[in-house]
């Protein structure tokens, strides 16, 4: 009669398979939609991969200047619908400029007209653009090989979970010493928080920046400076220190490309976050998402998804199943875009109200559910924020329990909680106390997961089964009405986002018959030429 237990939660593999197949069903129409559209950001990312960088004296990047001019010139002929590669490389082949950067300057000055080439001209433009973008992707490939070499040379993080710390001064030159100090104190991963306004900018700022609100702008130069500093730290410390930034907002494809070019190691990259929390148009987001994930797949970058955010607006117990649902969707979209299991830092968080009875047992059930449903993914475990108050003593205790839950459930990436969450941006001493908290728990109980087996049929197993069942129910519903409709109805994070509204919609175009984007082709094919 008795059968061997299945994992720690005794989940039925058929149920988990069913959940995955529902996620696939819900996601497939979205992928099709993404394949049928392009966006200004995808096109600009393509130009960046082809080597176009820099900005004019007003700070507008040349990729924006060029893409906008092409779009305007072709306005009566489909605009963005053909992609920018054909008109841009056609202009280069016609001898309008010797390179992309001069072409962008001429375009901005109005001294070049773009057209949609046809026949042999189109073929030549396709070949030339593919060659240029392939060179950029080979740089991304080289960066990836470089990372592998450095991990081998310096060694990897000594244990799991990787300790993930944030710096956020607004000034890259202040961030650098803080990041290096954080690495010395034990951080395996450094995340540079972005300035709060950046997700809604429809361009990527240029150069090293010293002014930001509650964070530092993501720019190619800032990426380069911080990566170089952490390479120094990796050498000093004898372990490779990873760097994280955000491929989200209106420019996520471009930021993903820059991350690949500058060897960032992890990127926050959620399939629905921009829609729900930044009111970015759903179509724009899904198209940009797919491209950015293809780039991340190619670059060997680990993505971090944003399910933790749902729990900051919705109740962490009532909405637990929306996290699982979103993780399944994120997994589907990620794999479809070519990411592998080890690259899926699926997110979840310790956000249950500590006043709820058995809150810690509930947290364990939820965290273990994520662990068992996604056994090979390095889950991203996010600390309490919503129930952190000015009571720093209680906050420190809560963070200790968060760390313990992380250790007990084998989380892969642990974002270090600060007792001063919601009070101040972390002080030097806050970070030190927080790391002491993590170290104590990991040293004292880091392998406790070996002894931790929830009672068969007990509270934790039952709760996990219940959440999985609820997430299947929700997925069923999403398959029925369609994911876009579900998002419009406020299914995730209680936010209602219709598909025909939101920011960035005017930057979306349905692809024409003539559409060509070499980056998309090269990424789909995994080709280098």
């Amino acid at each position: 009669m008795s059968r061997p237990p299945r994992g720690k939660l005794d989940l039925d593999p058929a149920t988990v398979r069913h959940a995955r197949s529902l996620a696939r069903k819900a996601g497939r129409p979205i992928v099709r939609m993404a394949q049928e559209h392009t966006t200004v950001a995808v096109e600009r990312a393509t130009l960046r991969l082809a080597g176009l960088g820099g900005a004019d004296e007003e700070g507008t990047p040349w990729v924006n200047r060029l893409a906008d001019t092409v779009r305007a010139d072709l306005h009566d002929d489909g605009g963005l619908a053909h992609g920018v590669a054909l008109p841009v490389w056609d202009a280069l082949l016609r001898g309008e400029a010797e390179d992309l950067s001069v072409l962008a300057q001429k375009a901005a000055a109005g001294s070049v007209r773009f057209r949609l080439p046809e026949g042999r001209d189109a073929q030549r433009a396709r070949t030339a653009s593919r060659k240029a973008v392939a060179a950029g992707l080979r740089t991304v490939d080289r960066r990836r090989a470089e990372r592998d070499r450095m991990v081998k040379r310096h060694g990897d993080a000594p244990r799991q979970p990787w300790i993930y710390l944030i710096v956020a001064t607004g000034d890259i030159y202040e961030d650098i010493p803080q990041a290096q100090q954080a690495a010395r104190e034990g951080a395996d991963v450094i995340a540079v928080i972005r300035s709060t306004g950046q997700s809604l900018l429809d361009f990527v700022p240029e150069g090293a920046t010293r002014e930001g609100y509650a964070g530092t702008y993501a720019t190619q130069e800032n990426f380069r400076l911080m990566r170089a500093a952490l390479d120094e730290s990796s050498k000093e410390l004898g372990r490779y220190v990873r760097l994280t930034n955000y491929a989200s907002g209106l420019c996520m494809p471009e930021i993903a490309a820059l991350a690949g070019l500058e060897r960032l190691d992890m990127m926050l990259n959620d399939s629905m976050y921009g829609i729900l929390f930044r009111d970015i148009n759903p179509v724009r987001t899904f198209v940009d998402q797919r491209f950015s994930r293809q780039v991340h797949a190619r670059a060997g970058i680990i993505i971090n998804t944003g399910e933790d955010n749902y729990l900051t607006t919705a109740d962490a117990v009532e909405a637990a199943h929306t996290v699982t649902t979103s993780q399944l969707l994120n997994e589907y979209f990620a794999k479809e875009a070519g990411l592998e299991d080890w690259q899926l830092g699926l997110g979840h968080a310790f956000e249950i109200d500590p006043a709820v009875p058995d809150s810690f047992r509930l947290e364990l059930a939820h965290a273990l559910l994520a662990r068992e449903v996604f056994p090979k993914a390095p889950l991203k475990w996010m600390p309490p924020t919503r129930h952190m108050t000015g009571d720093v003593f209680k906050g420190n205790l809560l963070d200790g329990f968060f760390n313990l839950a992380g250790a007990l459930t084998g989380q892969g990436i642990l974002l270090v909680g600060m007792m001063t969450e919601a009070v101040v941006t972390p002080w030097l001493s806050d970070r030190d106390i927080a790391l002491q908290n993590v170290r104590y728990v990991m040293d004292a109980a880091g392998r406790l997961h070996e002894d931790f087996h929830p009672t068969p049929g007990g509270f934790i197993q039952q709760r996990a089964h219940q959440v999985l069942a609820e997430s299947i129910e929700l997925l069923d519903q999403i398959v029925d009405e369609g994911l876009l409709q579900a998002i419009a109805d406020g299914t995730f994070g209680l936010m209602k986002r219709p598909a025909d509204a939101g920011r960035g919609l005017d930057g979306v175009a349905r692809k024409s018959e003539a559409f060509y984007n070499p980056a998309t082709d090269l990424l789909e094919e995994g080709a280098t030429r």
């Binding site: 997700s199 930044r278 919601a422």
Partner: protein, 244 residues
């Protein structure tokens, strides 16, 4: 009213605790410097109970000690609640009585602040601290614009919705951005409305000083820990008085 001193474990002992970091390596001199700081802050005797090096250049200290200051509660100025706290039912009744229509509240986080936790705690039906948010009130129509709303957008929406009250939250702020944003917001409303038609302007967030309403040009400032019921009661109270 008598003066008071802090309480450790005995009446009148004046004991407090303090923690801070000095940018110097840990040493006996560093410990002495920490005691010196505590002394200068009025702690005497100051008992250094913990000193921990944080990297080569910093040391963290915890100090316990007796302060020689006294506080006089009769000299303290605060914004006391000067309106009755009503239940949702009472708020609904008050709105019905004074307006004879639903009352419209438009809420937003303005500027670059992306943190909707404050505005959501007050507006979302889910609420905060066991109280339901304003969406729960039958006689209140709530329009929550979410985060990163510009001041012109806010004014435009407030006009379009014929808002009776405008709620603005500012959570994460740097370099006093919350004060600049609030002043910009109140000025914009003054400019686009005749004085007697302007909606109630209410701002809230953990960094605000509740006594600054006048200076910021708003009707009320709510600080940390404000509940939806307090905000709803204030709105009902103010608008009932205006209608009367």
């Amino acid at each position: 009213m008598t003066v008071l001193v802090p309480y450790g474990d005995t009446t009148g002992d004046g004991m407090v605790q303090l923690s801070f970091t000095l940018p110097m390596p840990h040493s006996k001199v560093a410990e002495g410097s920490a005691v010196q700081l505590a002394n200068k802050m009025g702690m005497d005797p100051a008992l250094l109970v913990h000193a921990k090096p944080m990297g080569p250049d910093f040391t963290f200290f915890v100090v316990y000690g007796r302060v020689n200051h006294v506080v006089d509660p009769s000299q303290v100025q605060v914004v006391e609640r000067d309106y009755p706290l009503l239940t949702p039912k009472e708020v609904n009744a008050a709105v019905k009585r004074s307006l004879r229509r639903r009352l419209t509240v438009v809420g937003a986080c303005i500027g670059t602040d992306a943190h909707t936790v404050g505005i959501d705690a007050i507006l979302n039906i889910k609420g905060f601290a066991g109280e339901k948010g304003l969406e729960y009130y039958r006689e209140l129509k709530v329009v929550n614009l979410g985060a990163q709303v510009s001041v012109p957008q806010l004014v435009e929406r407030a006009r379009a919705e014929k808002a009776d009250a405008v709620l603005v939250s500012q959570v994460v702020t740097q370099r006093d951005a919350h004060l600049l944003n609030t002043r910009e917001m109140s000025a914009a409303f003054r400019e686009s409305y005749p004085a007697d038609r302007r909606p109630l302007l209410i701002v809230g967030g953990p960094r605000f000083d509740e006594t600054m309403a006048g200076e910021l040009g708003v009707d009320r400032v709510f600080g940390r820990g404000t509940t939806p019921g307090e905000v709803a009661s204030f709105i009902a109270h103010k608008l009932a008085r205006k209608a009367a």
